[in-house]
């Protein structure tokens, strides 16, 4: 399962003004990689993710999964949004199953396993309004995993959570990645998160959105945030930003 991204250009209209969001983004992602994309706001990183998901097909260029052009959302691509986007009228287990029937023994078994995996035992029958932000996001992850995606696309999935929950969910995600061999693409604006999770960190710049640098992170998992080599890697990526002409755009990077 490899992904070839070759987006020549992507723009959309904001009122009457055209905005050039992405320009010449070429990237090849191999099976089982964990790519983290980081960049200033407005660099088109979320747009890029939506293109790979098949949610946005209005661009120039091609995106192929195993040589097949994407023309819409597919079951190979799971997607986790910044907000949990659960259906408020369904319980936790119903949300995970969604359009699959819980009466089906296979589905039931898989849903139970996933509830165990994301550590939500005892909350099967709860409605989203009764969950905390972190729990709701875990339900969303379970919902995506039930479809057994080969690629999981995550759009700033933990940015609305407190630091503790975020760290916990990052570990949950790493667990899933190591156990299920899913290719991950995660967009973030948290430098620590990018280095902690990614096998490759892709640094983007804005106006128009382009790849500034792709940095391979070869540190072994589980990574120690306090370890000198982690800090060194963090510094290296940070330097990429500092060379950017548009330093005011650093806002919101958590640096």
């Amino acid at each position: 399962m490899s992904i070839q991204i070759d987006v020549k250009s992507k723009s959309f209209f904001q009122g009457k003004q055209g905005v050039h969001v992405l320009q010449d983004v070429h990237l090849e992602i191999k099976n089982g990689e964990f790519i983290t994309i980081i960049g200033p706001s407005g660099c088109g990183k979320s747009t890029l993710l939506k293109i790979v998901a098949g949610l946005d097909t209005d661009y120039k260029g091609t995106v192929e999964i195993d040589g097949v052009q994407i023309d819409g959302p597919g079951l190979e691509q799971g997607f986790i949004f910044q907000e949990h986007r659960l259906f408020p009228w369904l319980t936790v287990e119903e949300n995970i199953a969604a359009n699959q029937s819980l009466k089906d023994v296979n589905v039931r078994k898989k849903v139970d396993e996933l509830i165990e995996l994301v550590r939500l035992k005892g909350f099967e029958k709860a409605y989203p309004k009764e969950l905390s932000g972190g729990m709701a996001q875990r339900v969303a992850i379970a919902r995506a995993l039930l479809r057994e995606p080969k690629i999981l696309l995550l759009d700033e999935p933990f940015s609305a959570l407190d630091a503790f929950t975020r760290k916990h969910l990052q570990d949950v995600l790493l667990d899933i990645w190591q156990n299920k061999q899913i290719t991950m693409i995660l967009v973030t604006h948290d430098l620590d998160e990018a280095v902690y999770l990614g096998t490759k960190v892709m640094v983007m710049k804005a106006k128009p959105g382009q790849i500034r640098k792709i940095v391979s992170v070869s540190l072994p998992f589980p990574r120690q945030r306090a370890h000198p080599s982690f800090q060194e890697m963090r510094q290296r990526i940070l330097r990429e930003f500092e060379t950017a002409e548009n330093s005011p755009l650093l806002e919101g990077l958590g640096i």
Binding site: G74, L75, F81, F87, W89, Y127, P128, K129, R143, R147
Partner: protein, 281 residues
């Protein structure tokens, strides 16, 4: 000796009795008392004023007179016959109007093309009052049940239509993205996303529509009929039996409130998932 043991025990007994009523029961009684306080005191003052004889009984009969009239009508069986006819009319009219309203609302909600064709006309018709079309309905369908039921249906149609339309268009576009990601079929989009999301709005449309059906019933029965609560009231007015007019009014209020409560029970059941302000600061 005996006396002292009894007085010593009493406080304990009372405590036990209090404990026997569960907390939620006590809360319910308290809530019920809050709701009943205003109407009960109004009735009390009304009765007092009536008993002083300052107001003529043809203008304002006392609550006791009204209760007596209701009792007489009940044992003669008259009340029940009229009520049966009225409820049948209101229910048929409501089902017809609300049913068509729901279907039309869904049709318009799902397609902008249908919206362009149907909605402007419906919005124009919506503002025409009952009394303006009542003569036409009589001319077309006669004095029989058809014209009455159609008039009620006309009233019941609009709230359900408007709210169904609004409810469907109010579905969060972000959840549509989720439906695309999860590969929902068209049918799954309707049953898993659109209908549940529109349900609160549709249900409030149904509540409004029940009220409108009731209103249409009064107009329909007052414009000429030989049975039904409206007829009973018209008849009583001619003979200055104001107490029976009041019985009719109260009946409308009680049955109206009962049907409304029924829908609210339905709302509570179906909308357990809702996370909205409950009115406690």
């Amino acid at each position: 000796m005996n006396k002292t043991t009894i007085t010593a025990r009493q406080p304990l007994l009372r405590k036990e009795w209090e404990r026997k009523i569960p907390a939620f029961g006590r809360k319910k009684i308290k809530k019920w008392m809050t709701q009943a306080a205003l109407p009960l005191s109004v009735i009390f003052i009304w009765q007092l004023v009536g008993m002083t004889g300052t107001v003529s009984k043809t203008v304002l009969p006392t609550p006791a007179d009204i209760m007596n009239a209701a009792y007489q009508l009940t044992i003669s069986g008259e009340l029940f016959t009229h009520l049966k006819v009225s409820i049948f009319r209101a229910a048929t009219g409501f089902l017809l109007g609300a049913g068509i309203g729901l279907l039309a609302g869904i049709a318009v909600g799902f397609s902008t093309k249908t919206e362009d064709v149907i909605d402007p006309t419906v919005q124009m018709l919506r503002t025409i009052p009952h009394l303006a079309v009542a003569p036409l309905f009589i001319l077309w369908f006669g004095f029989g049940e058809t014209s009455k039921i159609l008039l009620i249906a006309k009233g019941a149609f609009f709230p359900v239509y408007v709210n169904t339309f609004l409810g469907i268009r109010g579905v969060d576009a972000k959840l549509f993205d989720v439906a695309r990601i999860l590969h929902f079929s068209r049918w799954e989009k309707i049953t898993l996303l659109i209908i549940p999301s529109a349900l609160p709005t549709i249900l409030s449309g149904i509540r409004l529509s029940l009220g409108a059906a009731w209103l249409g019933l009064v107009v329909a029965e007052l414009m000429g009929s030989t049975e039904g609560i409206g007829y009973m009231m018209m008849d009583a007015r001619q003979f200055s039996n104001t107490d029976i007019v009041f019985v009719g009014i109260i009946l409308f209020a009680v049955v109206g409130k009962l049907t409304d409560s029924l829908v609210r029970v339905l709302e509570k059941r179906l909308l357990r998932w809702q996370d909205t302000y409950k009115g406690t600061m």
